[in-house]
């Protein structure tokens, strides 16, 4: 369903993504893990047509994102980490606008939006009458997630999707992801919250400095590398050692 081959991106002298390759079949949830600046967001931006790769290819449901952008964009949904929306539209206006861009007529879109707001426990009155600029961060995130799933995409890219969601909404959202995967949708879940990735994802890909370090199911990776937890494997692979010692030293400098 998603095929990435030798995807590379440079920003001047800095190599942000270095020959990344990954094959993801339908119905799988893949966790994209990495420290800050590892290249997760750059990878997602290339996969969603926000950035042009310097080399390599990416196909989504058989459509190349560079040579067939419109066809590819019709089959995926994307939740960017910025959570950007047009703040001067009401939630409903925003979702209807997004639906129209995917060719969903207003009656059909309103029905689908109704089902999402029921799931996310958003009131229709709020959605109709309140402008997005006045929404809380969590409410806005729910609208962005709805906008990404409204056209029933075959592939979903999520960049830190739980940011701003309260605990109940987060639990509900994780359950939704599992249901979507069972229905055959491919989900790429980028995050640095390890325990969520460990619980939700069928497969984990850890990238560091733009390169793919390991790729496999959480159990498989722990077994292969002899690590007790995903957290310890992550810190080992990404070079963050002696964290406790460093925290102690830092706290001392604050006390002095």
């Amino acid at each position: 369903m998603l095929s990435i081959r030798d995807l590379t991106k440079r920003f001047g002298a800095q190599l942000a993504v270095d020959h990344l390759s990954l094959e993801v079949p339908a119905g799988q949830i893949v966790g994209l893990l990495g420290p800050n600046g590892a290249g997760k967001t750059t990878t997602l931006k290339m996969l969603t047509g926000l950035l042009r790769p310097d080399s390599g290819t990416a196909t989504i449901a058989g459509f190349d994102i560079v040579t067939q952008p419109l066809e590819a964009k019709r089959v995926f949904g994307f939740v960017p980490d910025s959570g950007a929306v047009y703040e001067s539209l009401s939630g409903l206006e925003y979702l209807l606008m997004v639906a129209a861009l995917y060719g969903i007529d207003e009656t059909e879109a309103t029905g689908r939006i109704g089902r999402f707001i029921e799931f996310f426990e958003l009131g229709m009155d709020t959605l109709k009458n309140k402008l997005l600029g006045a929404y809380s961060k969590g409410m806005r995130r729910k609208v962005v997630i709805t906008a990404a799933l409204l056209h029933n995409p075959r592939v979903v890219f999520l960049d830190e999707p739980l940011e701003g969601l309260d605990a109940n909404a987060a639990v509900g959202f994780k359950a939704l992801l599992e249901t979507l995967a069972r229905e055959g949708k491919t989900i790429i879940y980028s995050s640095h919250i390890l325990d969520v990735v460990e619980r939700v994802c069928h497969r984990v890909a850890i990238i560091n400095q733009g390169r793919l370090m390991v790729d496999g199911s959480p159990e498989e990776l722990l077994r292969q590398h002899g690590a007790p937890t995903l957290e310890s494997l992550f810190t080992r692979l990404t070079g963050s050692t002696d964290l406790e010692q460093r925290a102690e030293t830092f706290a001392k400098t604050l006390r002095s």
């Binding site: 920003f11 931006k45 019709r74 703040e87 001067s88 539209l89 995917y102 309140k130 402008l131």
Partner: protein, 530 residues
Amino acid sequence: MSAESSGAVLRGLFWKLFFRGRVLSQRRGSEGTLNRSGMTWTLVVYAFIGCSFCPVALVADTFTFAAIMHGVTLFMVVFQMVMTAGSVLFNKEEAEILLHRPVLPRELLHAKVFVLCGVSAILAGALNLPGMIAGIWLKDAHWWFPLAHAFSLLLMIVFSAGALVVVYQACLRWFGRERLDGMMTTMQTLLTVVMVAGSQSYRFVGRMNLSHLSHAWWLAALPPVWFASLDAILSERHWPPLLLIPAVAGVAATFIVGWLGFHRLAASYGDGLMLLNESGGSTSTRQTGSRWLRHIVKIPPLSWWLRNPVEKQSFLLTAAYLFRDRETKLRLYPSMSQVIVMPLVFLYSGAGSGGWEIAFAGMYLGWLPLQVMQMLEFSEHWRASDLFRFTPYGRWQPLYHGARKAGLALLAFPALLVLAGIIILFKRFDTRLLLLLPGVVILPVWSLVPGIMETWLPLSKPFDAKTQGQRGCITMAIVMGTSAGLSYLAWYSLKESCFPWFLLGEAAIAAAVFAAMCASMSRHKEYNLH
């Protein structure tokens, strides 16, 4: 979904966004309600200004009258379009909302240009409506002058939008990511200079009737002359055949830039949006800039002027945005260039006068610090200003003074030096040039005006073209009104040989007003909360 319907959705979206403003988080207290009266008020102000050139219809010929209307439109409406185009066409946050949807970059560009042209046409309509009605009474025009003028006005708006898009697309095509921001600012500033200078062409036209076009061929290179010629050809009873040249030039230029901007180069628009998403890149130049800034604030006289550490940090913050932030530069420098070009136009068009226009040119400079301070209140990163609200400092005035001093030291004074250099280079010095001094003396007073109007924090508001347009009109009226009075006094005192006394008196009054304004500002203790 067909491309056509996507285009319609996008046009509807951008139309809504323009009238509502893009960001509303600051209005959370009012549950995000909309202020719908803003545009009406702007249209009323524009129509009121438009009334001022109605009497000319009774004395001028069709061509001169149309040139004046096109000139003023270019100055007021198209200038607004130039100012907002950068942030409308290249909005970084918007890429994350729309670029991953099944929309062609060409459709995005067309929808944005459609709305830019539509809004400009509404504003131009309000500005020109009184003149179009007055035009019915033109001596040498048919009754359909208003229709002819509406057509040429529309053509001028399309030409301006096309020229803007061509400039941006050319920058994207020829310059890489590292140089793109700088080039866009430079090109937009140059375009503003051309538009502002072009908008004043009626001053020359009024002086040398276009029947003398054969002696002043260069007039045919100015856009208001092109479109005014079209007005004359379409509605004048007997028009000189020579007018065909600028009229054809105008129509041809509109078609060429339209074809280039909206068709030939439109495909590269998506590349430009993608470039905006590239957050990395070379940082060596920026680090050098940062070092230079940190160095100069340690050297007198700046170190003496910035003794308060909060003022100093506010100065550095403002300076960083003045030199590094694409969005700030795209709005600020074109608007500044307008303030520099206008005094030059006054100086040159007032060459043969007794000096009143030279005095007024100096006073026009007062708009410079005011414009800078108004612009520095806006930023894409306005949410970051919450920092000032939750840190336990409690006073906004040092932040204001730091930003004000950055505006004066890094922009206003260098701009004055450039202006003085141009004057000395191209104009023989005579005593009438001393009439520029009263404008310089009053600069610090004008720089305090935004701080008197409200509590002011640097880079703390999202840019709203409508509000800015209204403020621009209001502050322009205040500055121009006061300046006109002072200019007259300065000119009169020079005529009566008591100019040094006038200057001394003005300096004393300016110092007193400055002190009073500072005292008034210090009484406003509260921050503006969202």
